[in-house]
Amino acid sequence: MTTIAPGREESVLVRRPGPHELHPVRTHRRRRALELSLAVAVPLALVLWWQLAATQGWIDPRVYPAPSTIFSDGWTRAAAGDLWPDVWATTKRVLGGYAIGTATGYALGLLMGSLSLVRAALEPLLDALYVVPKLALLPVFLNMFGLGEGPQIALVAATVFFFVWISTMSAVLAIPSGHRDAGRVFGATPWQMFRHVLLPASLPAVLVGARIAAGVAVLVIVASEQIAATNGLGHLIFDSRALFENDVMFVGIVCVAVLGVVFSELVRVAGRLLTPWAPRDRGRGQS
């Protein structure tokens, strides 16, 4: 706490210790408990309000089914094994496309960040492709890969690629020249330069891009499955909407949300393990 002592010609700044300083452990624990409570209570309150609105008839539960109905339907479908094929189909496509997109995006970002001629040759083209809505490429992928899993995986890969490519290239460009010079002075080979200079310096920024791409990958696959898939969560959502099975549609939406959060968190945790030297990202809602 900071106050100005009154009644003196020269004001003196007095700083009294606050609760952070007096009881650091207890204050931190309380703060964490408050944050956790808010993180749980706000969604819970919204769900309770939704439940109340549906049961009281403030909203039409045939159009907006009550959370209890959605949960019960989701549970029944999961127990009967009807839900898992769709969850697995979407997960497979996301993982496959994500792996390809990340690998190619990282490789090209590294190359373009390191070699200015390659950057000059490819950057305008990739910038132009970056702004094309990826869903608009689906018909092209359908022609290229046919009707199987190919177009879906290619679409996710194309989406993820750009996020990882941009973040990698800018991370490599942002590496201070002194780091590279030090590598050269020590006579580092290209592999050693990559392993001991470029990789550790660029990886934290790359993983930020990869984390954003994880969420966008789920977003894109859901839209794509609506158009050209016979299974998957996107197909489940839009198929049930077309059949006016709103409870099933909401089950699909909840599953997509859970998949997105889990995938994004996995990427974040993987990032923390891979880059222990980077500033610690403590995840959602944690100060």
């Binding site: 049961t55 009281q56 008839g57 539960p61 045939r62 159009v63 009707l147 016979t230 059949l243 006016f244």
Partner: protein
């Protein structure tokens, strides 16, 4: 802290207690079915004799559709102009032509109706129809509609639209293997491409056509594709059969590599007008007036082969904003405002086979109301 816990407990208790209370949207069975126009007086209509009604039980594919004389039934204007909104999935398809012609020629206006056609897909239109935000839907008793009715929506199919011409080959096409004849084709295990979802009324003719060739919706791989991709997929081998719509089937019609296995049944409309509570219960006069205008339009402009008149085809093409040559390339639809007995039962059986419907089928009394079109043509039950 304890006070907070009490607060949460009170909210949870309120929610749980309210679960037992009844809602204005409580699950019900909709209206009781045939009561809508039960007490209405039906009077004979000039120009609509015995040919203006056929027995719904007559399922003959060669049945002559009901017809009155042109310009009949005569308009009976409502005392006050009433606004009516009809949702339709498209404004460019040929089966919407009777409605668009009725608007353009002022047939609805003669009845005191101010009709607006609004493009809305069925799943979006359904809750609006049930709430009374729109009055009618020019669509079909799809699986979505059946699910809505099961959920308590008061929606009924009140008039048919068309059945295909005997010469039409819109339907299931297969790419023949070497030395294979159409009669030998076995559909089980094959992949079928279609732009139509399994919950569409087309599931019924699909199931019928597949069943005659050893298949079924539960025995094939169903591949939903965009309209432009269905034919391409059939031609390049992406799928080995496809449901081709008008006029796409013309592109493979003369090619011996392809065979037509079956299409929509003749003499049995699968779609048409669906009413919500506003025209079924609240304003039945307007409901009858709307169908009277539609029926008069069919009798006046679409009574038989309407495409034999080139000037009318040109007019239709302009109205539907479609290519005249495309319109000419397929035979006229047989416009038919009546609903056959058991169609919704057969549709629901197909939805079940397609795996998009569960539970017992709805009885016809909850899905169909023929009394409004019967009143419009003066048919006394």
């Amino acid at each position: 802290m304890r006070r907070r816990a009490y607060g949460v407990a009170v909210v949870v208790a309120a929610v749980l207690a309210s679960a037992g209370c009844s809602s204005k949207y409580a699950d019900g069975s909709g209206s009781s079915g045939t009561a809508t126009a039960g007490n209405r007086t039906v009077e004979p209509v000039t120009g609509c004799g015995t040919s203006s009604w056929t027995d719904p039980a007559d399922l003959s594919p060669t049945r002559t559709p009901a017809r009155c004389k042109p310009l009949t039934p005569a308009p009976q204007p409502l005392p006050k102009t009433r606004k009516v909104t009809i949702a339709t999935g498209t404004l460019s398809a040929e089966y919407v032509a009777p409605l668009e012609v009725a608007v353009a020629k002022g047939e609805f206006k003669k009845e005191g109706l101010d009709v607006t056609l609004k493009v809305l897909p069925t799943p979006d239109a359904l809750p609006l129809l049930a709430k009374g935000d729109i009055d009618a839907m020019w669509a079909a008793p799809e699986a979505a509609v059946m699910n809505g009715v099961k959920g308590g929506f008061d929606i009924k199919w009140v008039a048919g639209n068309f059945s295909p011409d005997p010469e039409s080959k819109s339907g299931l096409w297969v790419k023949l293997k070497k030395g294979e004849a159409a009669a030998d084709v076995r559909m089980a295990g094959r992949r079928m491409g279609t732009m139509i979802g399994k919950g569409s009324v087309i599931a019924y003719p699909m199931q019928k056509a597949l069943a005659t060739h050893g298949g079924g919706l539960d025995k094939i791989q169903y591949q939903q594709l965009g309209s432009a991709d269905v034919l391409t997929a059939l031609q390049n081998g992406g799928v080995d059969s496809a449901w081709l719509l008008d006029p796409v089937w013309r592109k493979v019609d003369d090619n011996p590599q392809y065979a037509f296995l079956g299409g929509q049944p003749q003499g049995e409309p699968l779609g048409g007008m669906l009413y919500g509570p506003s025209l079924l219960n609240d304003d039945v006069d307007a409901g009858v007036a709307l169908l009277r205008a539609y029926i008069r339009t069919v009798n006046t402009y679409f009574a038989d082969d309407y495409k034999k008149d080139p000037s009318f085809v040109a007019y239709l093409a302009k109205l539907l904003k479609t290519d005249e040559a495309v319109l000419k390339s397929t035979p006229s639809l047989t416009m038919d405002w009546e609903i056959r007995a058991g169609t919704t039962t057969r549709l629901q059986a197909a939805y079940k086979a397609a795996g998009v419907s569960k539970g017992a089928a709805l009885p016809e009394s909850r899905t169909v109301n023929r009394s409004l079109y019967e009143e419009a043509v003066g048919h006394q039950p």
